[in-house]
């Protein structure tokens, strides 16, 4: 759910249902690494309600595209972690069976 003003696509607040710090903090970090982002932060309006507001303000690109790219980036990072972990497990098993 995106709350944005009519003409200005650069600044928007995204309201995600059924999410919490797990996703929001990681997304916030990834967004801050993007040079197109002027401001990025998240807040949880009430702890009893599973909702997160992520605010993104960019230098020109539509905020929605920047958020999508950040998700993509984070997914690639997860994939990298996964393959690295797979290789590390295989290496460890080889090492311990050799010993």
């Amino acid at each position: 759910m995106e709350h944005t003003s009519f003409g200005d696509q650069r600044n928007a607040t995204f309201s995600l249902n059924e999410e919490d710090h797990t996703l929001a903090n990681a997304l916030r970090f990834t967004l801050n690494q993007d040079p197109r982002v002027m401001f990025c932060g998240y807040s949880i309006p009430h702890p009893s309600e599973a909702r997160v507001n992520i605010r993104v303000q960019t230098t020109g690109d539509p905020a929605r595209e920047v958020l999508k790219d950040a998700c993509q980036e984070l997914m690639q990072m997860c994939q990298h972690v996964r393959t690295t972990l797979d290789n590390a497990v295989a290496d460890f098993k080889k090492e311990s069976s050799r010993r």
Partner: protein, 318 residues
């Protein structure tokens, strides 16, 4: 499209790995990523646990709901969980959430015939699917024979009986802790310890010994031949600042400097036995990717923009 993106490629090295325990280092990533992984491992990895119990006969000393609660907490091997559907999403069953695709059925029949107390344990649960069974804890340590009998559910006296049918479903730890696959997940920052050699030389041997002993965990040690203080186990440091306070009280405040490395974490994951510990971490990464996918794709539904467009126009009086 990405412009001058600063790509981070985290590195992982496994320190120790057993069936239910893994300790690994995660480097070159941010604390938010490490914390997201920890949170997902704890509450968002789906497992299978008993969720519905039909009691046919119960003459034991524990009440029906007491026994049902204990049954729910029994860990079940959940390799199937990642491919299973949630009962609420299942369209194959006729609404009662008990079909073979979304649930596993268990039976338990126990009656005490002898005058010895009968221990009803998790090993007495008979599953309809041989891949989903109560976790077998015997054989790992095995020095105590009481561990081989499974988790005790209830004890029966002569004449007491327990007969029930239980349905196990897929769930996540967020809903109820019985579905959490992890016993503990922790991560700590890797410490970087610098000893100021010049200041250290100015201490007597007794002062060095008292300094080394002021740390609650064994971080430093003294080489018996050269009388040098060295770091023996940097990771035993628990970020209590006892050694720093001791250095100050001895009048040498810059004696040792300890910083946490901001992008280096040491993860310890202990599983309850439902998955292997390494499998648990892999599943957690997959779940994190699924959540990101959901956010990315949901951005394509833009119906709210129109609502707010009209509201804006109305409020502007147009």
């Amino acid at each position: 499209m990405d412009g001058a993106w600063y790509q981070r490629f985290p590195k992982i090295k496994i320190r120790e790995m057993k069936d239910d325990y893994v300790k690994f280092e995660l480097r070159e990533t941010d604390a938010s990523m490490a914390n997201a992984l920890r949170r997902v491992i704890l509450v968002e990895v789906p497992t299978i646990a008993i969720d519905l119990v039909e009691i046919k006969a119960n003459t034991s000393v524990l009440s029906d709901e007491f026994i049902a609660h204990r049954l729910g907490l029994i860990p079940l091997t959940s390799e199937r969980a990642m491919n299973m559907r949630f009962s609420r999403d299942c369209d194959a069953c006729d609404g009662d959430g008990q079909c073979e695709f979304c649930s596993v059925e268990f039976h338990l029949r126990a009656k005490c015939m002898t005058d010895q107390t009968l221990d009803v344990t998790s090993k007495d649960l008979i599953s309809s699917d041989h891949t989903v069974v109560p976790v077998d804890f015997s054989g790992s340590t095995g020095f105590d024979s009481s561990e081989q009998r499974g988790i005790t559910i209830v004890k029966l006296r002569q004449g007491q009986e327990l007969r029930l049918r239980a349905i196990a479903r897929k769930g996540i730890g967020k809903d109820h802790a019985k579905w959490s696959p992890a016993a503990t997940v922790t991560f700590m920052y890797e410490p970087e310890i610098h000893i100021n050699e010049d200041l250290m030389e100015s201490l007597t041997l007794d002062e060095k010994i008292s300094f080394v002993e002021s740390s609650p965990t064994k971080v430093f040690d003294i080489d018996p031949r050269t009388h040098q203080v060295t770091v023996v186990d940097a990771e035993a440091y628990t970020y209590d600042e006892e050694v720093l306070k001791k250095a100050e009280s001895m009048g040498k405040p810059g004696l040792v400097e300890i910083y946490p490395k901001e992008d280096s974490f040491i993860f310890t994951v202990e599983s309850t036995g439902v998955f292997k510990a390494s499998q648990l971490v892999l599943n957690a990464i997959d779940i994190l990717k699924q959540k990101l996918d959901a956010v990315r794709l949901s951005q394509d539904t833009a119906e709210v923009d129109d609502q707010f467009g009209e509201l804006e126009a109305h409020m502007r009086g147009g």
